[in-house]
Subunit: 225 residues, 2 copies
DNA sequence: ATTACTAGAAGGCGAGTAT
DNA sequence: TATACTCGCCTTCTAGTAA
């Protein structure tokens, strides 16, 4: 199965909503999409499953199909690349939300030697030991999802024998249109999609004189360079 | 040549920058991308050309290749659909620019019976006979390109024997965060990509008390429903 | 460019399955 | 028993390779 066939099949399945939920599918209707015989469609599905891109459950009246996270990642990666090619001009988006006091975990993680080095090398600054947490407004929550799709700057995780520290994705950003920093999308976070964690070389609370509940906007740069 | 092969090939070419400009390409390097023989790569290019998706110019040391507008449209359409599938949450973008006095053509076109009916049916309002023209700021020009990629609401053109009236694309929008209306992307316009034409059921200049040079923001809705 | 060779994909048929 | 589906076996033929 060629890689572009995989992508196209995943796209066809996504069109039917198989990303996220599992859908009913019979080989005949997929065959129409493919302009091929039901047999071929069936075989493609089998191959896709073997490669781990989709999951299937067969019953007497057809089958249930869903795209696995592996499959979805592949499709998203492709989409991101297309986006980069076709949307040369799209460079930043603005998010906004209210400051709130987090669990204090941010400070701990940011000050870990491994992460500090990652930030220094990849973002170009040594972060203040602490994160500024924003509770995003409704519009910004939607925009945040776009960030999740984009590649961003990869911050690698590590293990220290005792436990595993997960990886994260960062985007350079300007906070309140003035201060440079970055937003962090952490893979396994305690927060929901409506929370944005921000780091900066400075103590943002002090520098910007922020109190809980204050509204802050963040201009996120979508390109790494 | 299957449609997904076409898409993938166009994608490979776009990665090399063949959208917009023509690039030097030899079959060998394309063959590597395709994981196939140079012969196959060459044949694919010939087929793509025959289908009108690319143009080629062969000389003694290889060939120049570029994606035609037909090919680019295909790739963009695919991209748009992926975008719709993967970015469920992305719903509006904000543009801003300064009011300027146009050529007065807008008023003529908008009041043509055919267009009026199109607007009424597809946008849900009878437009004031005139357009508000914005000279977009730099950031907004970039965002405007995103609109060009999206499907939007199709406003059909027509012929009246004498001449042909081109089609356009519209997006519903809110002007100055208050007044409903729509932005128009006209296929053959006298203006550059830094100009946005806005229609509304109201006389926006009067209603918003606008003078030339005033800065206005427009929230463009990306979904049609 | 043409040809011959060959791997592998597509499709027909029918068995198996569950309602 | 009849139906509607998947899927394994086998044949055909397309399409890539190599000369």
């Amino acid at each position: 199965l060629k890689n572009y066939e995989v992508l196209y099949l995943l796209y066809l399945l996504a069109r039917r909503g198989a990303h996220g939920k599992s859908i009913r599918l019979n080989s005949n209707s997929l065959a129409e999409d493919l302009k091929a015989s039901p047999k071929t469609a069936s075989r493609k599905l089998i191959e896709l499953e073997a490669l781990g891109y989709i999951g299937r459950k067969i019953d007497n009246k057809g089958q249930y199909v869903w795209i696995t996270s592996k499959g979805l990642n592949l499709l998203k990666a492709f989409y991101q690349e297309l986006r980069g090619l076709l949307e040369g001009g799209w460079e930043e988006i603005e998010l906004g939300g209210k400051v709130f006091k987090g669990l204090g975990e941010g400070a701990y993680y940011v000050s870990l030697e491994h992460y500090r080095k990652e930030f220094l090398r990849k973002l170009g600054f040594d972060p203040f030991p602490g994160t500024l947490n924003l509770l995003l407004d409704r519009e910004s929550v939607k925009k945040r999802r776009v960030l999740e799709l984009l590649p961003g700057i990869e911050i690698e995780g590590f293990k220290d024998g005792l436990r595993e520290y997960c990886s994260a994705k960062a985007f350079k950003a300007f906070i309140a249109n003035k201060v440079k920093g970055a937003v962090l999308l952490i893979e396994r976070t305690h927060y929901g999609p409506d929370v944005l964690e921000i780091i900066s070389p400075y103590n943002l609370r002090k520098l910007l004189n922020l109190k809980d509940g204050d509204y802050v906007t963040v201009r996120v740069l979508l390109r790494n360079d």
